[in-house]
Amino acid sequence: MLLKEISTYKPIKDETLKTIATDNGVTWQQIALISLGTEDPKEVYDTLRHYLKIDPKNEKPVCLGADFEFEGDEAGEDLKIPKVWSQDGFQHETRHSIRARVIEPRPYIRITRIDDHFAPQHEKLDFSFRIGHLENKKVSLKIKSEHYGVDDIYTRELLAAEKKTGSDKEVTEEYKGETTVETGLLAGEKLYLNPLYSPYKLIIEEEGGISDEIEFKVLYAEIELEQAKWSVDDKEPDKASDLTGWLRWQLNELGYFGGPFTSNAILAGEYLNRAIKMYKASDTEFQKIQYNDKALTTQIGGYPDNDSIYDDLDEDPAQFRNLLEKRLRKSKNKRKFIKLESDPFSAEGDKGTFWVQQVLTQKDSQFFAVESGTKLTQDAARLNCPIQPIRAKIKVKDKTDVAQEIPGAVGQVSVGWRVEDPAETGMNNRYQALAVSANDNQRLPYIQAVQNFITTEAFEYSDGTAMVKNCPECCTGKQNLEELFYDHAKSDGTSPHPMAVRNGLPCTLAGIDPDITKSFGTSSINFLPSNKAGDSFRVIADLDFDATALGFTADHIKELKQDNDANAPGVVAPLKEGRDSCKVKTGIFTIRRTIDFVRIVKWPPDDAYEGEMPRLKLNFEQCYIDMETPGNDEKVSVKKVMSNKEYQKLVRDNFAPSVVDIKAGAGITDDQTNAFVDAVLPGKKKLFWRKFNLKENYLYGRDLPPQGDLTGDEYKAAINSLLYGDSGFVGAMAEKTSYFVATKIRPKVATGHISIAFKSHKPVTVIDDPSLAKPAQVKEQDYVCSNFSSMGNADGVVFYDLGDIDRHAYVTAHEFGHHQFLYHHFVDATDDETLHDTNDDNCIMSYTGAATRVEGVFDPLFCGKCNLRLRGWNVSAPHINFPAGS
């Protein structure tokens, strides 16, 4: 059959090839053949698309060519209307030449199917296409994205088999999202398509000719958080070439918070200094040096009577460098600093705990604590915050919407970091159930009032997230997210995850360098929570779909993560705006502090004090402070730590008469002095202290003077004065005996409270009035001083007087409170009551017998303000209204 074109025709709306053919008295096949080169129904539509330039939006899901309804606005060629050529009148047996040409089929390409989304590298991108009549042409497969500029992200020439005309074809060489582009953030051997540039177009294109394209996506699935190592590259720095980094790493490993590996060199340096000093103070070998090195102990400043030690071991790594390196290398003195209950990084329901060391007054005894700084300045000078690098593994969806971890397909997406302040749980038990009386109920409402103030006054983190109970910034807590999060870097401070703050949130970029394995396709950050005991945090990481930051439009970005409707499987849920579309929370991390009670020196040796330990620990438990108490091996008789000679030396140095010794200043020899003494006061030299001997049962190591003719009252007053007067034996011995005991114990256990539990003197019999006739005498057997003196001395040593009328647990907690920088409550007019809840009559920092202590109720604990101070709060902050009366 020969066809002859007689006209062209531009279809109008709703016409089909069939209707046009009918109107023109031809078959639709004839129109298709002359216009498109094919009458194969399967090919007609494919060629129509190309040559009439059917707008893709008008394409129908199923097109059988002749039934395709035109829109009438097709921009391509017109249809050709033929008629079957016929010619009458040819003369028989005459040669006629008729030139006709065979209608060649026109080439076409049609991509018929493709995955909506896929997980590059993990799986191949499935797509089908039909191709026709391009066997001899150069045809390429290309990937493009309008978000990636004009370059082809990927291109390759179709193989011969792939070009061969046919339907339902698939590429024989599968495509898994690789890139061939040489510029931009997708250029790289190990880089794959990622969600950032979605949607992508897959294009099959004849060189200089026709092409077809189809859209597909790569989508983010979720973020999974995990605990990261100290440096972003997971590499322990080399000691020889990077001593600072090595020290920091080791101190982190051992629990001293040696500093984040971050680009913030100043912060890292401050952390390292504090950690080195804290490590030295916490290490037994350094304690040996500290207590034995005369050169160090003579550096002690401040009060000559106080044997300060802690300042002598400084933050300089060069000081005793060999020892420092040796101890760190051997991982000595590791402290418990983190506990994970299951995996709080990846599961909201799991929990974690960070332990911060509680700082003790090391330089001075209790009442001079203010001289070496308050708790606040000491905390600031010596305490680091916990450091926890957290890594966000960013996953993409595979075809079945399962999250896959494919580092090369993540892209340089930004991850935002923030925190939540979870409500405190178990408050009734913590603050009230301990009280022995229902009337002793001041602590719970106090803490509640503080928390109420925080919520009603709208304290919030710097991104606007409301605070609930954590320590506000004005009370030395942290509210600024830029102080809670620091970038996570290598030892040299460079980071594949540079941080920027957007919309109040620290945001870090995901790593795209395949050579930094752990950071590739992840983003990590240093989380530095506060060091306030009782604070707790959830960390929230989210994909920062901040369009501006990534250089995209908001409409584009929100499509990077699509979720199916939870109630309608298979249906895409409405797109979520911004960061809420992809976020993840950790479990709750709680900050606690630790300070252990490490030794009891028993003087006398018969009391084990075991029953008091739970009650002692409860005081601190309320304040989120964990305390281990001494085991039986850690309760030792005084004779285990002191010889008679050493005891006599203590007496000589501290209780003996203060001889005006002019020799030191004047260069007088001993002989001259003796000559003088003999000349002026012959025979008066006495070895006074040798009359004292170490007694296992009593501090005062000799018999008390007899009563003589003194009345009972006078005698008792004299004994009390001898033991407890301003220059009394107990007071004279207290500090230096404590110090001495510390010198013996610290080389074995470097930190923690020590208690010396002593009886002051041997009981005596007191007669009411010796001048009366014997039958009238009133005898008091086994009299012991009514006075007593327990003291919290330097370096955490309690000098605990067993004559104290309070319970052991009360006194010990009270003195431990002093060690932890607490001051008296209701004891003296000069007490700073702004540091206490004055509504609480039962603060343990008061004395038994204080008028304010409620009779029948008194079972003391730390008052609300002491509680907060122990945690590390500044309760004198001007910007917070602590409850009335406090």
Partner: protein
């Protein structure tokens, strides 16, 4: 029914008319009128006094055990006192030394009202007695720390009557708290020319407590030395009297050891030299000459102190623009301890704190005072020196000065000027005018202790006697100064 008793005041000593430097002793007789013993347990059953303003009837003070303890001790203590039992149908006289409960009272007329609290809470009041407290002119006050064991502060006050008769009072103040006293006693009358000094203890060891209950005072007049020995608040023995020919002036304190030996020193001026002579009074009452030291150029103050094995002499040598302080022992010659700009106007050696305290006045600018403290044990150690400037317009010319450097290195100064004001200058350099309109206050400053390092300031006022106040800031000063009694 409450136990039937009768209360009456039977004696007020030294009399119902006393001065404001004296504390009275009140004796109360409690008659038990029941056939059962009466038990005063000090808790449910209490005997105490009320001190009532005679004019207004206002109860000014409840003098009970609680008050006594609060005045004697810094911290709350629980004293276990045995109960007092008064037999059936018997009586007992109980004597209360008010000195042990409170300061001597201010000038005024008071009713002393004995009160008895029955176990059921009913209060029975006995007949009151009237106590008149009068003013007297104080001419000397001396405060010293007695000894480290029974560590009282001691206050010797000497008043003078219009008839030029001196009366002296010795109070042994509380151990760590110089408010109330263990003992309070009147000393024998003295003549107008008499000087009286304490013998400071120079011992430590305690074989028995009796030395700690001793006090020794030396009275000196016209080369005649009288030694008063006091034991447990009372004079013991007959005073011993010695003649010291040409001994010169008695130095401001003597030294006593635990055996009761007394060492004292005199000073005579010979040209530019001071000759210091040391004497020993042994327990037999013999005076022995011990040593003589020529202190070249020592025309300024001289202080002595004793340790358990030596006597130490500190002397001042004025030069043109500065003053030296030297130490002298036996025959070792003088050793220069300190050289400081200005004129030395006060020198004290504190044996128990091992400190030499000195006040210098700037010669060119007398309004500037230098307060120097150094370690007597180690004179190589650089002394602490702090300067204060006092304008004559504000402070007047210097009459009295006392200073103390507390455990926190804070300088506390009490200063009297000739404008009749007593000013306190604290470590913050702020001045608080404590009193006005009296020519002398005899101020002293006592160190606090380690438990509470705030010092005490003591001073006299004409109508109020001698009192101590803890230095605890302006508000507390006001509170103390406005005490009712």
């Amino acid at each position: 029914m409450p136990h039937k008793i009768e209360l009456k005041t039977v004696k007020i000593s030294p009399g119902a008319k006393i001065d404001c430097f004296t504390s009275a002793c009140i004796s109360i007789e409690v008659c038990n009128l029941e056939p059962e013993p009466l038990v005063l347990d000090g808790e449910l059953t209490q005997l105490y006094f009320e001190v009532i303003d005679a004019a207004s009837g206002t109860v000014l003070l409840k003098v009970d055990e609680q008050l006594r303890l609060s005045m004697l001790y810094l911290r709350n203590i629980q004293q276990r006192k045995p109960p007092i039992i008064i037999n059936a149908n018997a009586s007992r006289v109980l004597t209360f030394d008010l000195a042990k409960y409170y300061y001597p009272f201010k000038v005024g007329t008071y009713k002393i009202q004995p009160c008895f609290q029955h176990p059921d809470g009913e209060l029975q009041r006995g007949k009151f007695s009237v106590l008149e407290v009068s003013s007297t002119k104080l001419i000397q006050a001396r405060c010293w720390f007695e000894n480290p064991i029974f560590g009282n502060q001691n206050l010797l006050t000497i008043a003078e009557s219009d008839a030029n008769v001196k009366s002296a009072n010795l109070r042994w103040l509380g151990t760590s708290h110089p408010l109330a006293s263990f003992y309070n006693m009147q000393l024998p009358e003295l003549s107008a020319k008499t000087s009286i000094i304490p013998a400071l203890p120079a011992f430590w060891d305690v074989e028995d407590f009796s030395p700690a209950f001793q006090r020794t005072l030396l009275i000196y007049e016209d080369s005649q030395l009288t030694i008063l020995k006091i034991y447990r608040g009372k004079l013991v023995e007959k005073p011993k009297v010695f003649n010291l020919d040409q001994a010169g002036e008695l130095l401001g304190s003597a030294i006593r050891n635990e055996q009761g030996d007394i060492y004292f020193c005199t000073r005579s001026l010979r040209g530019s030299e001071s000759v210091v002579c040391g004497y020993h009074v042994n327990t037999l009452g013999d005076v022995e000459f011990l040593f003589s030291r020529n202190l070249k150029g020592a025309q300024g103050p001289i202080a002595i102190c004793g340790s358990h094995d030596a006597i130490h002499i500190y002397s001042a040598e004025p030069e043109l623009t500065r003053t030296s302080i030297s130490y002298t022992g036996s025959d070792l010659g003088s050793l220069l301890l300190i050289k400081n700009k200005g004129k030395l106007i006060k020198l004290k050696v504190d044996l128990f704190q091992n400190r030499i305290n000195a006040v210098f006045e700037d010669i060119d600018k007398p309004r500037i005072l230098w307060f120097l403290q150094t370690d007597a044990n180690n004179v190589q150690k650089k002394p602490q020196i702090q300067a204060l400037s006092f304008s004559t317009e504000q402070y007047g010319k210097l009459v009295e000065i006392e200073f103390l450097i507390d455990l926190k290195q804070g300088l506390h100064v009490l200063r009297t000027g000739n404008n009749s004001n007593l000013d306190y200058i604290g470590p913050d350099k702020k001045t608080l005018r404590l009193c006005q309109n009296e020519s002398r206050y005899f101020p002293c400053l006592l160190a606090g202790n380690k438990e509470n390092p705030l010092p005490f300031a003591g001073f006299a006022r004409r109508n109020e006697g001698y009192r101590f106040h803890r230095i605890g800031g302006l508000n507390q000063w006001k509170q103390f100064l406005n005490q009712v009694i």
